[in-house]
């Protein structure tokens, strides 16, 4: 796969040089104040989305210990909730009295926080802490509904369509204590409704008032006393049923994230579960409403700290690959996984070969084509706790080497206090060099913040065909970076609407053919830790201005082909509207 890297890099270098000249010229003409080669502009304050996230402070006997391990909850999820054509963002806070934010996109790169008015602001109290969120149209009415993922009880808000939301958690059958940390939704059984998958970090011990101190991970590499995954089948009538056992996904890892995608192109989406403190799991969808754990053959058993599961076809070979962040620092050199899909339900880790191995203490990461050159780039969040100059590392290892230490007991763990652990890490923006290697470009584009990043969401907030970036940071303000790419590279986006399939077309695969090439992109149901990107399917086309054909494989499995579609615009495609069906 990497055989042609040298010549590819040479060609790429020529392209970069030409682009650089173009950039310098464009910037000189425009009189921009930021470096000409910088393609992202920090517009956080101007956009008025700069409310600070605050970590939860617990009030229990283990609070001083938990503080170090629950610096979580900063997340951002994107959807056009009001159907006005502009992507909006929901951002979580985690402090006991912190309000969540629904940032309505005013259409001019400014936002208005309408969470209170919409009825979705109150996601935190003494018994619940927001940890993430998910937009998903559970009732197929065409309006994205909102799940607020919490340590405590999740909240499901039905989008009423008038700018307001109604909490329907209990009626939907989702009122249950879970220490939930991530959620995705996809239609695993192809019945036309998206189902809900919830990753749970701690077991369902009430972490606000624990009745035992023994709720921490039993070990650091193969822990099996976590919360696992809960699966809720969508009954199609506004209610859900817990089918975790029935579908074969009962497990007890410290699930931090999940990602779905069709690994073997059989029309049924498979599932990757990233587990902290132990082995990630890969489940193949059997196509009969159940999954099988094929971890051993698919990826093998790792002992790392899985933090993120993002799917995308980084090498444009027509198969979805998976990027997983782990923890990498001087004291713990785990390295990330870039799982190259071999096409036979096995994956090979190519993170070292591609230059994506080391990105610090990893969190959310997203594939997206920021320069519209037709190759998926990668933006990676990192950093655990950035505090004082003293390191927490010796403390944690002093604990680990104590004979007979009981790691499940929170009291065994040293308080972090004001110390730092893998703090002040620079975020990584990896540019994809034709599917061969990735080069680090974060400093060049001003995306190398040292805040403790958690989630990232990608969307074209100003509808200009260039993908913008929203970053959620723990205990800090978020970032909104506007993409100012000056190259004029072509692009096209698709908003899919299912009819027989689930309305949001989650899981739909789009294969676009132009100039003799075919690209695969798909509709994700919220993959990646603490961040959900737009559900629009975006293709960078580079110099290609004409599209030959667009094939949509809907979640039902049915395929449709569309022709005569123009580049450089957003198209809405409704299932069943093509004259060309396979």
């Amino acid at each position: 796969m990497l055989g042609g890297a040298k010549s590819v890099l040479y060609r790429r270098a020529v392209v970069v040089c030409v682009s650089l000249i173009a950039c310098l010229t464009a910037a000189a003409l425009a009189g921009t104040s930021f470096p000409a080669t910088r393609w992202f502009e920090d517009i956080t304050k101007a956009a008025r989305i700069n409310s600070k996230h605050t970590n939860r402070e617990f009030k229990n006997p283990y609070a001083h210990i938990m503080a170090g391990y629950t610096a979580l909850g900063a997340s951002v999820v994107v959807a056009d909730y009001d159907g006005d054509g502009f992507e909006d963002a929901f951002v979580t806070d985690s402090s006991a009295h912190g309000k969540n934010h629904l940032y309505h996109n005013n259409g001019n790169l400014t936002f208005t926080d309408v969470a209170e008015r919409a009825g979705v602001a109150d996601g935190n109290d003494e018994e619940n802490a927001s940890s993430a969120a998910l937009w998903f149209d559970y009732n197929n009415d065409g309006r994205p509904d909102l799940l607020v993922v919490r340590f405590g009880h999740n909240q499901l808000f039905q989008n009423l369509g008038n700018g307001r939301f109604k909490e329907v958690t209990r009626g939907a059958g989702l009122y249950r204590y879970l220490n939930a940390i991530a959620a995705i939704a996809f239609d695993y059984d192809r019945d036309g409704y998206v189902d809900l998958f919830v990753a749970c970090y701690f077991q369902p011990v009430n972490v606000f008032h624990p009745d035992t101190p023994r709720f921490f991970p039993e070990n650091m590499e193969t822990a099996n006393n976590g919360g696992g995954v809960q699966v809720f089948h969508n009954n199609g009538n506004g209610t859900f049923t817990d089918v975790t056992d029935k579908v074969g996904l009962r497990q007890s890892g410290w699930a931090l994230d999940m990602g779905h995608g069709d690994a073997n192109n059989d029309g049924f989406d498979d599932l990757y579960v990233a587990n902290d403190f132990g082995t990630d799991r890969f489940f193949v969808n059997n196509g009969n409403g159940t999954f099988s754990d094929i971890t051993k053959t698919a990826i093998g058993f790792d002992t790392k700290k899985g933090m993120n599961a993002e799917w995308g076809d980084f090498d444009n070979d027509g198969l979805l690959d998976i990027f997983v962040t782990n923890v990498t620092d001087d004291y713990m050199r785990e390295g990330n996984f870039l799982w190259h899909n071999n096409g036979n339900l096995t994956f090979s880790d190519v993170s070292r070969e591609t230059g994506t191995y080391e990105s610090g203490w990893g969190w959310g990461a997203k594939f997206f084509d920021y320069d519209n050159d037709g190759w998926l780039d990668l933006y990676v969040m990192n950093g655990w706790v950035s505090a004082g100059s003293e390191s927490y590392v010796p403390d944690i290892f002093a604990m680990l080497v104590k004979p007979g230490i009981d790691l499940t007991d929170a009291r065994s763990w040293p308080p972090m206090g004001k110390k730092s652990l893998s703090g002040y890490e620079k975020k990584r923006l990896y540019h994809n060099e034709h599917g061969q290697v990735f080069t680090e470009q974060s400093a060049r584009h001003g995306l190398d913040s040292i805040r403790d990043g958690r989630g990232v969401a990608i969307a074209d907030f100003d509808s200009d065909g260039r993908l913008d970036v929203f970053v959620a940071n723990a205990n800090a303000e978020p970032y909104l970076y506007r993409n100012t790419l000056p190259t004029g590279a072509h692009w096209v986006s698709f908003l899919l609407e299912g009819r027989r399939s689930n309305r949001a077309a989650v899981g739909a695969q789009v294969r676009l053919t132009a100039a003799g090439q075919t690209w695969l992109r798909y509709v994700s149901g919220g993959n990646s830790f603490a961040g959900q990107s737009s559900n629009r399917v975006h293709f960078g086309l580079g110099e290609v201005a004409g599209i030959d054909r667009v094939e949509v494989r809907w979640p039902t499995g049915e395929k449709e082909v569309f022709t005569g579609m123009a580049a450089d615009r957003l198209h809405k495609i409704v299932e069943g509207s093509s004259k060309n069906k396979n």
Binding site: K304, V393, V401
Partner: protein
């Protein structure tokens, strides 16, 4: 084929004798185990080495070859359990403790990153016991070199330098051995890791005078700055298997 059968049979016989309390010769057990290992019969080899070590626990060569066979068979736990019992039975056997420490190091590459630290720390404990019993060149070199693998945050590099300086003093006081080049390399790495670049270059240069063909010393002296950092970081990467084969010790004597 006949040789293979003989090696297997001999190892089995010696193991059998030991099991029934007949006092086998440790060297005979060792040689039979070597033969079994050479033929790929690792089960017989491990048993033979264990017999030899049980009879001569302070034999550094037996322990080293046993561990190499254990690595080959991926029998890390068996090796650790064996040495645990061996040092319990022979608490004053310095070289048994040393090999026990190496047995932990042998497992590091096969472990997760957290377990690596725990194994490395336990290895240091055993090597320190060995030093307490008998402060030898190999024990000081081993412990000093091990400290260099620890990330800076643990502040162990100065301890490594102290041990390696002791080993350096020992080797200067005796006849020159080919393996002494290791101290020149590691002590320089220790100085580099403690930000004493002048001393690092000086000891590498002295080493190269003593061992003019050594490629590792040449590589270090040819590099500077980030290039040197990358090189040494790569050399001290705990995810790579550390060569704990001690055959150089007796090969050069």
């Amino acid at each position: 084929m006949r040789a293979i059968q003989f090696g297997h049979a001999a190892a089995a016989l010696i193991v059998g004798l030991a099991a029934y309390g007949a006092p086998a010769s440790p060297e005979a057990s060792f040689q039979a185990a070597q033969k079994a290992r050479a033929t790929g019969d690792l089960t017989a080899a491990l048993a033979g080495f264990e017999t030899a070590l049980a009879l001569d626990p302070d034999n550094i060569r037996y322990g080293s070859e046993y561990r190499q066979a254990a690595i080959q068979a991926k029998e890390y736990e068996r090796s650790l359990k064996f040495f645990e019992k061996l040092v319990a039975d022979h608490p004053n056997s310095a070289k048994a403790h040393l090999n026990y420490g190496f047995a932990y190091v042998d497992k590091i590459q096969a472990a997760g990153s957290i377990t690596q630290v725990i194994l490395a720390n336990t290895a240091l404990t055993e090597v320190t016991r060995s030093i307490d019993i008998s402060p030898t060149w190999i024990a000081y070199y081993t412990r000093g070199n091990s400290y260099l693998f620890w990330p800076k945050v643990f502040l162990r590099a100065p301890l490594g330098v102290a041990d390696l300086e002791k080993a350096y003093g020992m080797q200067k006081a005796g006849p020159k051995r080919t393996y002494h080049v290791r101290v020149y390399i590691s002590l320089g790495d220790g100085y580099w890791k403690t930000d004493n670049m002048d001393k690092a270059r000086a000891i590498w240069t002295e080493g190269l005078r003593e061992f003019p063909d050594n490629a590792q010393l040449k590589a270090r002296l040819a590099r500077n700055g980030d290039d040197l950092k990358t090189y040494i970081d790569n050399e001290l990467d705990p995810n790579k298997r550390v060569d704990t084969n001690l055959q150089e010790l007796w090969a050069s004597e």
